[in-house]
Amino acid sequence: MVLCGATASSAGPPERVVSINLCTDQLAIMLAAPGQLVSVSHIAADPRVSPQAAEAARFRLNYGQAEEVHAMAPDLVLAGPYTSRYTVGLLRRLGVEVRELPLADRLQDIPETISQMGAWLGRERAAEALIDDFNEGLAALTSETDLRPRAVLHYANNYTSGGGTLANELLNLAGFINIAAEEGLRGGGTLPMERIVMLAPDLVISGQRYPGESRAEAVLDHPAMIALRERRVGGVSDADWVCGTPNVLRALARLVALRAEVR
């Protein structure tokens, strides 16, 4: 409890870091020094959305509630832009240092995000190494191609990603044309099933299924989509591109493999 309220900015690298957002979890796990990261969000331990579930399970898990986080006596709390404003506000009122990491929605922003996190954690050197690895991996996966199959991302509730998104960039990089972007959709949004069917994509890319039932996911099994998928279907784990972190290289690798299958 001695550390409670200590100001990390003036006293060297933080010693007790708590992350309450899946994306900051990912970067913090990659960059933090041993013992520096105290807790990550429980979502990070869910293999369905977290690519580092096994590593995350080694940390204490939190549910992102102010009281719970405060009790861990952190000298730095890492949050994302979508973290509850009430939680962030309350933690600050309690005298806890909270830093919010902006989401990278372009590949070129990822190195900057990494170095930002590295600076906050006092791990600039590790960040530089990670950036180098990322750039190398990215270069290795990029290849020129003439054949550009038309693909669509199709998720629960007919959700898809259009232009200006990380997913769109990865699709293009892997050699696909994203028909949602072609249709003029910017950012994330929905594309009615009718339009998807009419656009007749060469490939429908969906995420994995979650347990339990939902109407949202029922669209993935709609007869019209099944008929469409008879053309070709692929899956990319949600976990790999939820956050703009080096993990997106896994998604890219998967897309490149899918692209190779399309003839």
Partner: protein, 329 residues
């Protein structure tokens, strides 16, 4: 208006709205090509859109609308109360609870008919409770209070089950189960609901003469040769069939069973027997119209059907309560 003529006009209205429903959609297919795709299967993508997306949607709107109109007319006739409506008195909500339980426990995946059967079970419990609480000479107040209690309970349990679901999307679907939608349903759903609706509709259709007699009260009806026990069982079974099967597919859609019989009652001379068929057609027309409207108002989003039906129905409901109160019932 003569009754056969009225049914003819309503049938034409349903046919027109059904056609309109087939032609409205974000794919933007011109009517001639839409029909060619629907009937002759011309164009792979168009055929897929028409036969697998729009046709089931229009069919379900007509079927579920007819079910709700019919069930509303039957409930009102039996209870001799214009406020009795499957949605308002918690029958749809309980059916939704049954459906949600079947889906989240995995029973629905175990065998095909589990989903509508579970919804029907929910509806049976609700109709039974309502008749128990408000059936025999129960006034409007009893009916509405019983309905509020049943609705609240069903709604709370539905929310609880969805929140306990391991599926991240389930909790957000409380609004679907309470407000209803026909977006992206398929022919599978049509075949799932149809048999139950046919059976339930046939059951409710036999109630006509008994409902007419009940206009004079239970004792007078009984001495006119009506078996009240049989009527009650048929009403519970029939309502549960049509409302249960419909709600399992579309979620709970309120007010159709209130608005449609209210509008058509004066036109059929207030005879409950005639109101049954007329309300079935009127309900089909109203839900088709609502489902066209949600696609025209917000084409890109899944605006819930219950939003529109409530905007029309709730003011009418208030008016009916006011009038019922003025008449001192």
């Amino acid at each position: 208006m003569r009754f056969p003529l009225l049914l003819g006009v309503l049938a034409l209205l349903v046919a027109g709205l059904f056609a309109a429903s087939l032609l409205v959609g974000p794919a933007g297919i011109v009517p001639a090509r839409a029909l060619a795709a629907l009937i002759r299967g011309e164009g792979v993508a168009e055929t897929l859109v028409m036969r697998e997306i729009r046709l089931p949607r229009a069919l379900l709107a007509a079927m579920i609308g007819a079910s709700l109109g019919l069930a509303g007319a039957a409930m009102q006739g039996y209870l001799r109360n214009p406020l009795a409506e499957p949605g308002l008195i918690g029958i749809s909500g309980s059916a939704a609870l049954g459906a949600v339980l079947a889906l989240q426990t995995g029973v629905a995946a175990a065998f095909v008919l589990a989903l509508p059967l579970a919804a029907m079970a929910g509806a049976v419990v609700a109709v039974g409770l309502i008749l128990l609480l408000a059936g025999r000479s129960g006034g409007s107040i009893t009916l509405i209070l019983a309905g509020i209690a049943v609705s609240a309970m069903a709604g709370a349990l539905t929310a609880l089950v969805l929140n306990l679901s391991p599926n991240p999307f389930a909790a957000a679907e409380i609004v679907f189960w309470m407000m209803g939608s026909l977006a992206d349903r398929s022919m599978t759903h049509v075949w799932l609901a149809l048999p139950f609706m046919v059976v339930g509709g046939a059951l409710l259709a036999t109630l006509g003469r008994g409902l007419d007699a009940l206009t004079l009260g239970e004792d007078a009806a009984a001495t006119l040769g009506v078996s009240l026990t049989r009527m009650r069982l048929v009403l519970i079974g029939g309502t549960a069939c049509v409302v249960g099967a419909g709600t399992a597919i579309s979620g709970a859609i309120g007010f159709i069973g209130l608005v449609v019989p209210h509008i058509l009652r004066p036109v059929v001379g207030a005879r409950p027997s005639r109101l049954l068929a007329a309300s079935a057609l009127g309900g089909a027309a109203m839900l088709l119209a609502a489902d066209i409207a949600v696609r025209l108002i917000l084409p890109e989003r899944d605006l819930k059907l219950g939003v529109l039906t409530a905007l029309v129905g709730a003011p009418l409901f208030l008016h009916l309560i006011y009038r019922t109160r003025r008449e001192g019932l």
